[in-house]
Symmetry: C2
Subunit: 507 residues, 2 copies
Amino acid sequence: MDRRVFLTSLGALGASPAPRGGIVLNEDSNHYFSSRAGQRLSASEVSAFVDQYAGTQVRDLFFNVNAMRAGFPSKTRTSFVDGYEPKGPDSQEMFASVSAAEAKGARAWVHQAWQLRQDGIDVYALWLERARKHKIGAWVSVRMNDLHNVDDERHYLHSAFWRTNPELRRVPYRQEQRDRALDYLHPQVREHNWKFIEEVAARYAFDGMELDWMRFGFHFAPGREAEGAQLLTEMHRRLRKLLGPKRRVAVRVPSRPETAQRLGMDAVAWAREGLVDIVTPTNFWRTVDNDMPIGLWRRLLPSAVTLCAGLELGLNAFPGSVAAGGRPFQTNSIETVRGSAAAYLVQGADRIYLFNYMDSQTAMDDNSTYPDLLREAGNLASLRGKARRHVVTYQDTWAPGEKAAYKLPIEAEAGRWFAVRQPVGGGAASARVAIRVGVRGADASGWEVRCNGARASFERVETELKPGPNTPIYRYAVPLTSEEAVIDIRPASAGRVEWMEVLVEPT
Amino acid sequence: MDRRVFLTSLGALGASPAPRGGIVLNEDSNHYFSSRAGQRLSASEVSAFVDQYAGTQVRDLFFNVNAMRAGFPSKTRTSFVDGYEPKGPDSQEMFASVSAAEAKGARAWVHQAWQLRQDGIDVYALWLERARKHKIGAWVSVRMNDLHNVDDERHYLHSAFWRTNPELRRVPYRQEQRDRALDYLHPQVREHNWKFIEEVAARYAFDGMELDWMRFGFHFAPGREAEGAQLLTEMHRRLRKLLGPKRRVAVRVPSRPETAQRLGMDAVAWAREGLVDIVTPTNFWRTVDNDMPIGLWRRLLPSAVTLCAGLELGLNAFPGSVAAGGRPFQTNSIETVRGSAAAYLVQGADRIYLFNYMDSQTAMDDNSTYPDLLREAGNLASLRGKARRHVVTYQDTWAPGEKAAYKLPIEAEAGRWFAVRQPVGGGAASARVAIRVGVRGADASGWEVRCNGARASFERVETELKPGPNTPIYRYAVPLTSEEAVIDIRPASAGRVEWMEVLVEPT
């Protein structure tokens, strides 16, 4: 085999890196049913859903086809509409465990799913086809251990397999949410999910399949994850064989390599064995993680593997944090996504993966900028010259027995220095940079604030920043050109720091 | 070039991995002077110091030749004995800043160093020669930023360069210990240290040189470490050129790859560029780190690079922890070193690096087992079948602005589960395993303790365990065969958990 042929065949096997940049977007399995509830939809209206992503930076659309139940009439597991009586009341058996208000909403989207099925419309099949027409990568995404509403054993989202096999759960001696996940150490659990994978692979025409191990990220009895990792690697070997050389494989895994491995999701091993083409480290849900070790991932993964930085929709500073206006949860805005994306692209991410960034409902608090987001977030070139915010958040996924470390809140004491580090993507020489610090219970205007050693100067107090904290925000100007900011503060008085960010604005 | 020749030349370049196993031992620059103070030593007595390591698992002896001052008469920096008046009193100018008691001890060891110099004895040169005779690797180790006693500007350990250049320190706006380290962003600092390296390389005949970046581990202004990393990498390029193809290079760096990089010590980059042959991740000082990500390091480093797990002498559970008997500090014992070593060898460490494990004074609290330690700790085969203790400790080195995470203490609440994960080296199927939990302020005999899901049974209360906590210890029996233990506990009452360990005993 001469060198040229050898390189060509490597390319055919997916071993040559794809060009950098672009967005992967995940559309979940029932957002469409829910957001379009009450409408009677035609096949062409369903297909047209994809058109909003054409001509943007979205290179791949990942259509999620299941939670615990399947989004299509499955032969291997319960489907969303199984047990639904279209002529029954909202209070019918399927919805008996939830409140009247939830039952009304649930019934509406389940009815939509039912109606589409009655009309012979498979939304995922139509979308995959339309994506290919637009030359957008057409993927299916399979959630491997969804746990929505497991605190309610009778909830309408649950599969019969999960309901009837409580002995297959990962922590039988306790009943917290993640304890109720199915334990892949059990061959029945692996087989149940494998059969579904086979079914999806046979049912749909796609460019690639994602196994979404981050829904919900816990797959093994605590402490037995090393054994478990072997089993998941074996499952990925089967998947590669099943899909063959032309269809690609993606995975979502926890944001830090060590935690991923300690949860049994050894994405580095999968990648080095050639079993996966795209790896997406990500937080689980409540907030984007703005301090994932993307550079470390890049070093660990073969260069042929595409590394996506996984961005969740939420933007929340610490567990239990309260957002501007007293809300328990807030989402990113286009400025904060720009911050996350810029930092990760600088650190070596190939692409930005948007999860829960949908076109309505599960969407940014201000979704009017959604079209812009899809045209900016995937490339440094399109991010350049635009205001961006680098917000300190937290990591929400830890292996059992790992010590969770949250940067905020900080109980500041008078005269006692504290420091927080935040990647900021560098290249801020021609920009105005400000540090924002949200403080409860103190006037921080006279605090000594330094950024990478340079003394910052107090500018003003801001309020009602969105997204932002439910505290006054003290804003300080500072020069900054490094890739990371170490914000070093000596408080003049005691207070509780609930928010920190670096704002980079074009001059 | 045929395959055989190719492999041979690779070997000559140090690219073929050395066989696994063995111990690296670091002897610090003044321990010998101090521990032999008051004796008049001959050259052969000095050389004989090395003999205790012959016939053990010690494959390499790293002779440290400096702190901030040099241990030999240096042309490029202050030496230990500079300014010493052999006929002067203990209270002479050199020791004027310390207490009378400290001055007496200091003067005794400085006098020993002076006397040896008077007698024409260079201890490091003799040791290097003797080590080679024993076919033990003969190394010099250079501390790159030592900070002993920097809270006292006039202390007798300080170099003139440090004393007279306060503007070259890394955090000029603050005066904590690590703030006073020299900042390698300044070319004068790099040149000062580079000239010393050249001097050491010219003065001594050695197999390799270690740059000990973990004395004391902080080399750059906060937030500017990415720039700094480039400079240290450049220094390592110079070092490789200086030493040529036959002399090897080792480094000590922080225990986690990301923290090492964020402190400007990018050992992975050095290794991938072929600039270093041995990499030793390690804690700084107060305790051995029993949860270093050695498997992650192994994946990041080229296989030709020897990975040492760096073990510090101390064994302490958390910052401020109090040891058995009320002591503020305690050391490892042979059983706890066995635990650390076994776990790290299983995780892929090539060798065990002992720091501060010297033959007296800076030594294990019970150093009667020192000869056994040197014959056991470097290989799984010699560790097998012996009792070992896997103690939960903490990581003492964090980049500025990183969130430090300590597993202990835990303020346990009645009914509220908590979990701690500890690597245990696996292979405990034919052993008796016990969990030990040190609890203050509660009777934990009735607590629900689980290990990797299995219910542990309370055995008894132990007291005065050494090393151990200053609390009663509750001991529970449990089966265990995994490489990691997740100890999951539901307290029956509130208490403060100050110690956790997994004991593995042969049956």
